[in-house]
Symmetry: none
Subunit: 562 residues, 2 copies
């Protein structure tokens, strides 16, 4: 114990730790006791108010140097910006609403920014204001001159400054989970202070900045979407070439989600499929070899791999349904090609070095109905919902008019339905949603909705003929509608975009039911069904303001409501 270099029981401090002596004592080479705000030496010399310590808070020499480099790079970037349009665009003050969106999108309170709508002010969001940022001048230091060009190569033009980066990250943070990005935001936030070469690859960072702009719509900041989109896309080939595969995958996922959410399906499909192929190629779905994660660094990398894999998985499994194509990520049939990577855990667990592992096929075991001891983090639940949705769609896709329904097929459907029910029972019940943290609330809503959509997929083909199936669809729709009523208007923008298509499928089943009702009993009262449909129309229309991808489906539903 007490490997304090010095402290000898009592107060006899022998030698102060490095970096802890005050500036004056350093200069004078005298013993400093390191007391703040003023050390004894300084007090004795009546220079108490001049006793300063350098801000070496936990930073090592090297780290300090690296930070200096980062700042300088920042400064250079700023200066290099050709009498800067693009860089200054992002310095729009979001509180300046003078000329913004004519179509009133709601009251211009700060909820458009990043904080959760009803979040208590405990948020980690920093108090930096835009004007502060604007004024923040880079501390410039003089120094000896060497004129040698730095052979750094690819410093993309118009990267945001460090401060701006942090701000964009802070805007993005509450939306990270929504777009499938499980990541340790805190360390990411700190990493922007590092020199460029030690940061994440720019394709990844710029994809995040893109999302930061995207979620800030219709604030002026969103004008930079195209800019960051361009930067991220441009840097993608470099990431691939230099072997930054994880960053390439995560960036591709973010880009894909962006395209898909905006209804740019071709581009979205393109990048989603590419990301999945890359994940397959890297065998991210297989449990990694290193059984016990010794050093911190390996642990962090392992967590990255796991998160990246499940990010791809969610994207692939959910959106392949939207795009009506087969999922790309391989999971069997050969044992060696099955997904065996462990369920995602909470970020905090990884930080503590806990990585669960087992060699069973993660997804297939879950889909077979086995109960497992792990896999109940919110990220894992989200993954399970994706798996259920995809599986249900796979079964539903086999149905076509005139098919012969085998007993085995019915069996498969029943099994899956059972797994869905089991899964739902592990989610926080809907009437207790508000006891959750907001972030958890949103992801739970998404998980519930996907699960109910899976039920609809399993039954909609039979609903016309089979009363039980019809009732199951109706029940699922009712559950979804009841959740919608629990979502505040400001909260829609925090949901995973895939919930939009999901609602539209459930709504389609409601439309079918309405059709059948009106066909069978033309005079019956359908107002409750119509009300339910209106609920979906409301949800879809609200979310389509954020994620235009649902717009076509929305107009279909609205048309049906006359």
């Amino acid at each position: 114990m007490a490997n304090k270099p010095t402290a000898d029981r009592a107060g006899t401090a022998a030698t102060l730790q490095r970096g802890k002596a005050c500036l004056r004592c350093r200069k004078r080479k005298m013993k400093c006791d390191g007391v703040k705000p003023a050390c004894q030496q300084c007090v004795r010399a009546k220079k108490g108010d001049g006793c300063e310590y350098d801000d070496g808070k936990g930073k090592t020499r090297t780290q300090l140097l690296k930070e200096t480099i980062s700042k300088l790079e920042d400064r250079v970037r700023e200066l290099e910006t050709p009498s800067g349009v693009p860089a200054s665009v992002m310095l729009f003050d979001p509180h300046d609403f003078s000329g913004s969106s004519p179509d009133s999108f709601g009251s211009p309170d700060s909820t458009y920014l990043s904080a959760f709508p009803t979040a208590s002010d405990s948020s980690a969001s920093p108090s930096t204001s835009w004007s502060q940022l604007q004024g923040a001048a880079s501390p410039l230091v003089g120094g000896p001159s060497l004129n040698d060009m730095f052979f750094d190569e690819r410093h993309s033009p118009f990267q945001p400054s460090n401060d701006a980066s942090v701000m964009l990250l802070d805007i993005f943070a509450p939306h990270a989970r929504q777009c499938g990005l499980e990541i340790d935001m805190e360390s990411l936030r700190q990493s922007v202070a590092l020199p460029i070469t030690e940061q994440r690859h720019s394709t990844f960072l710029n994809a995040i900045y893109l999302w930061a702009c995207f979620v800030s719509r219709p604030e002026p900041l969103s004008q930079n979407e195209d800019h960051y989109l361009q930067l991220s896309l441009d840097a993608l080939p470099d990431a691939l070439q230099t072997g930054n595969f994880i960053d390439a995958i995560r960036a591709s996922c973010l880009l894909s989600m962006y395209f898909l959410s905006n209804g740019r399906l071709a581009e979205g499909a393109y990048h989603a499929s590419a990301a999945a192929a890359l994940a397959d190629q890297l065998r991210l779905g297989r449990q990694s070899e290193l059984e016990d994660v010794k050093c911190m660094k390996a642990g962090a990398y392992e967590a990255e791999r796991i998160f990246a894999f499940w990010q791809v998985f969610n994207l692939d499994r959910c959106w392949s349904v939207v795009l009506q194509k087969q999922p790309v990520l391989t999971d069997g049939p050969a044992p060696r090609s099955m997904i065996t990577v462990p369920w995602p855990q909470e970020i905090a667990e990884y930080k503590m070095g806990h990585v669960s592992s087992s060699q069973v096929p993660t997804i297939q075991t879950f889909l077979s109905g086995s109960i497992s001891a792990n896999g109940f983090s919110s990220a894992a639940l989200r993954v399970k919902a994706s798996a259920l949705l995809s599986q249900a769609h796979r079964l539903a896709d086999k149905c076509y008019p005139g098919m012969k329904v085998s007993a085995q097929f019915i069996e498969e459907i029943n099994n899956l339905e059972h797994v869905i029910a089991l899964f739902c029972s592990t989610l926080m019940p809907i009437d207790q949603l508000d006891t959750l943290l907001l972030e958890e609330k949103y992801s739970t809503i998404v998980a519930h909705t996907l699960a109910q959509t899976a039920v609809v997929f399993l039954h909609r083909f039979f609903a016309a003929e089979n009363q039980t199936s019809n009732e199951k669809c109706a029940q699922a729709a009712r559950i979804c509608a009841s959740m919608i009523k629990r979502i505040g208007e400001k909260e829609f923008g925090f949901l995973d975009p895939v919930i939009g298509p999901s609602w539209s499928w459930v709504a389609d089943s409601v439309v079918s039911r309405l059709d059948r009702l009106e066909m069978s009993w033309p005079l019956s009262d359908t107002s409750d069904v119509r009300a339910e449909l209106a609920t979906f129309a409301f949800a879809m229309s609200t979310i389509s303001l954020h994620f235009p991808v649902v717009a076509p489906a929305l107009s279909r539903v609205q048309k049906r409501l006359v």
Copy 2:
């Protein structure tokens, strides 16, 4: 005493001083004795001439950082100076090995060019000489000096001039089919004279130029590979955004093939999967709605769609086997998601406005063994070979030690084998290959080889136990080997790159057979099997000069040959 850092009396070096280990030892993290000019480790590894030490001048990490800082500060000061002396750029270049030209490659006989090796001079290939080409086609061709690298702004818009474009296209033309690009080269050639807006998208054109450079290895022109690669990749997002989907797909395919052929599997997988997803998204696999193709333009567009689809199909089905992943392109199971696009026809037929069509599932019908009246163009035969390979691999992938072999599974294998035999009977027999046009000869060789590889896939799992399977594998290998003997050395560079991996799989089965032979009858004469293996080794080694992707498999085979 004697904590002397280094020499302990005699020559027993304990630990070398910092900064004194040679570069290779540092990278390898092994003991270095620091002897100059070459340390023992390097000498032992026969890398004696590569043993370098970093110049004594301090390179201790922190010093490097500080140096970077002062450079940056310098840069800042320079930028801040309003009037600014233009800051003498790079007074010296520490790496300036003036005049380091690439070692002159082998004899500059024009076979490296593109004309078919034994082509009669009737070929369409122009009589351009290399010197002409160098002057016109390649703005960058002279070995790029380091200064060029420094100044290279990511987008040096060095698009080739019209004449250069035509020449690149001419170089490429004889290789088009090899990389899966069925296209009307003639009209493409003429289109470069059109205004840019009416040309094909630059991502596509540059991908072709990339291949032109690639196939011209090791001529100096190939130094531009990176350049065109960059241009093509950079333009890809634009093609997607502006809706030039066909060009985006075809470019992605070419890029993917380029990466894959060069063993850059991750990048190759990325673009292949992306292309397939896009093709799925555009429903290229479905027969288009326009039943009768009225105007010429629509006809050309239809042909483009069809060719693009089959290009993706070949890429997806063949290389997913190489990459050991599931194919991406959807083909069923639901009837509406099956491939129904007609077989590719000869280009001339499309030009004459003949487009066959029918609504049957193209591939699935073929795989079921039905005989069709169309689908015998060389492009269609190539497609069929891909389908067979993929299907065989799908079945083979279900096999794993300890599996239970169902009768149904055997049935599937037998059926597919029957289809393969049927298919082979529609190909020009091997002993008549030389009666074909060279282009046809090459694609027929590829088709035969893929078909035989499919046979190997179907049987290799059972070959150890089952004499018939063993014999089938042997027979397939014999057929492939006999074809190899009919390929002139100069002709290897014109074969579809996938033939490399294909040979390696067949060779693997030969290795297995050899193992079994030597195991069972240690004294038997295996010289004929070894000779066959040597044939594959020769083929693989020859083609690996063009397509490095086979290199790892090659070294495996060579090792077995001792």
